[in-house]
């Protein structure tokens, strides 16, 4: 069905993501049921909080298998903020923890000398020329960020946008096949930014239409 499964695993910004989807007229359901996730055309993994807690919740709710199965089967997934970080192989937040492993690479903390969290509006410079998910988003558009850790993909092909904080230039969005991630919060980045949710919905539905 042409619907997005927003994964409910008790981590933060679920409702603001749902409100943004509603605003963009994207059909979505908040769920932690594997059978519902399987039926939907795409998956959004939101998240605010700590990496190890989030992975523990995913495991506790028995979501690891369905997420891995669906994403390996080609279903598009979009991770937001912590949700993007979870897509990676591992994180160094509170020790070393394994992530979902859809994107090879790691998640590391900003330098202790910088003000952390990196909080506020920063620009995203596009590294890839063509991307359906960034349709009608201009290069250098401002988005709202709030995070202390950032993703380091080991495969340069995964880098979708880059953002500079202090002297650090980090990957602020990723795209690798059917796997997408935003470190920023489109749902908090004003009306102009929320079109990315609609773009994601179109990617998901385009794929269902092909089948």
């Amino acid at each position: 069905m042409n619907k997005i499964a927003v994964i409910d695993y008790g981590m933060g910004n679920l409702h603001s993501v749902m409100k943004a989807l509603q605003y963009e007229k994207v059909a979505a359901i908040l769920t932690d049921k594997p059978e519902t996730i399987r039926k939907c055309s795409g998956i959004i993994l939101p998240g605010v909080g700590a990496f190890p807690d989030a992975m523990a919740e995913i495991k506790k709710r028995k979501l690891l298998e369905v997420l891995t199965g669906e994403v390996e089967g080609g279903k598009p997934i979009l991770g937001i903020c912590l949700g993007m970080q979870l897509l990676f192989s591992c994180s160094s937040e509170f020790g070393t923890h394994k992530g979902l492993g859809f994107i090879p690479g790691k998640v590391v903390r900003f330098d202790r000398k910088m003000k952390v969290p990196h909080m506020g509006w920063n620009s995203a410079e596009t590294a890839k020329k063509e991307s359906k998910i960034l349709k009608s988003i201009k290069n250098g558009q401002y988005f709202y960020f709030v995070h202390s850790y950032y993703c380091v993909p080991s495969d340069k092909k995964a880098v979708l946008t880059k953002t500079q904080y202090g002297n650090t230039i980090f990957t602020s969005a990723v795209e690798l096949g059917n796997v997408f991630g935003f470190q920023f919060h489109p749902e908090k980045s004003s009306e102009k930014a929320m079109v990315v949710y609609k773009n994601f919905f179109e990617i998901c539905n385009g794929r269902t239409a092909e089948h």
Partner: protein, 252 residues
């Protein structure tokens, strides 16, 4: 590059916007939901609601305002005022706010910061500090809307709050508040040098030149203002244009 944030603040009493002059004499003027929406259109980077209702049934009123705002305003919303427990925080966040600001309750129960940060993450917990200059130098923390002196030193308090998990400091100078004579630059610089979390300067904004000073000289990461925006003396956009011309990075 990370931009400096311009944050309009709305004092809300029984679901209506008011603005206090030196924490006294409130004048009614407007619907908070509409005001937040207008600020969003004008380019505000965030919006803060400070609930100053004194009665108990207030919670319902502000929750209703938060819910309605979250439906149409897609920028971060901070809510403060009268938050005493983690359960209060949860209710506010669940209804669509992104951050909670704590002041009095955190001074008397610092564990509130720790427990809130543990449950919702440091990024949700804003420590609001009302600071007043001491005759012999330094600043003292005041609570209860600026009515009660605590004897606590501001610098010591913000350091402690940071270690407990506060993700941001909303710093109000009681000396400057309502004067429109400019922010307390020295206070902002002292706090900014003492902690590694972002500082929102508050109290004393009379115009964009004051914002420039506190962002540049005071090392603040964001500026909060109420009356100059509320009474339309300046728009958020005109302030940002001024700052951009002076070389301050802002989102336009």
């Amino acid at each position: 590059m990370l931009t400096k944030r311009i944050i309009p603040c709305l004092d809300v009493d029984k679901g209506r916007v008011v603005k206090g002059i030196k924490f006294l004499n409130l004048i009614d003027a407007g619907d908070p939901v509409e005001a937040a929406y207008e600020y969003n259109l004008a380019g505000a980077d965030e919006v803060v609601f400070l609930d100053i209702t004194a009665s108990h049934e207030k919670r319902k009123t502000i929750i209703d305002v938060i819910r309605k705002t979250a439906e149409k305003v897609f920028i971060p919303l901070t809510v403060g005022g009268g938050i005493r427990e983690v359960a209060d925080m949860e209710e506010i966040l669940k209804n669509g706010a992104d951050k909670i600001s704590v002041n009095t309750a955190a001074v008397y129960n610092p564990e509130l910061i720790k427990n809130g940060a543990k449950k919702f993450g440091s990024q949700c917990i804003v420590l609001a500090v009302d600071a007043k200059r001491k005759p012999k130098g330094g600043w003292e923390v005041y609570t209860h809307g600026g009515r009660t002196a605590t004897g606590i030193d501001v610098i010591k308090w913000v350091k402690k709050a940071e270690s407990l998990g506060a993700g941001e400091i909303l710093l109000t100078s009681m000396d400057a508040d309502g004067t429109k004579a400019g922010y307390d630059i020295e206070l902002n610089r002292a706090v900014s040098d003492a902690v590694r979390v972002p500082i929102i300067a508050s109290g004393g904004a009379g115009g964009p030149e004051h914002m420039y000073e506190v962002l540049k000289e005071g090392k603040a990461d964001a500026v909060l203002a109420a009356s100059i925006f509320h009474y339309k003396e300046y728009t958020v956009r005109s302030v940002k244009q001024y700052l951009a011309k002076k070389g301050i990075p802002v989102r336009l």
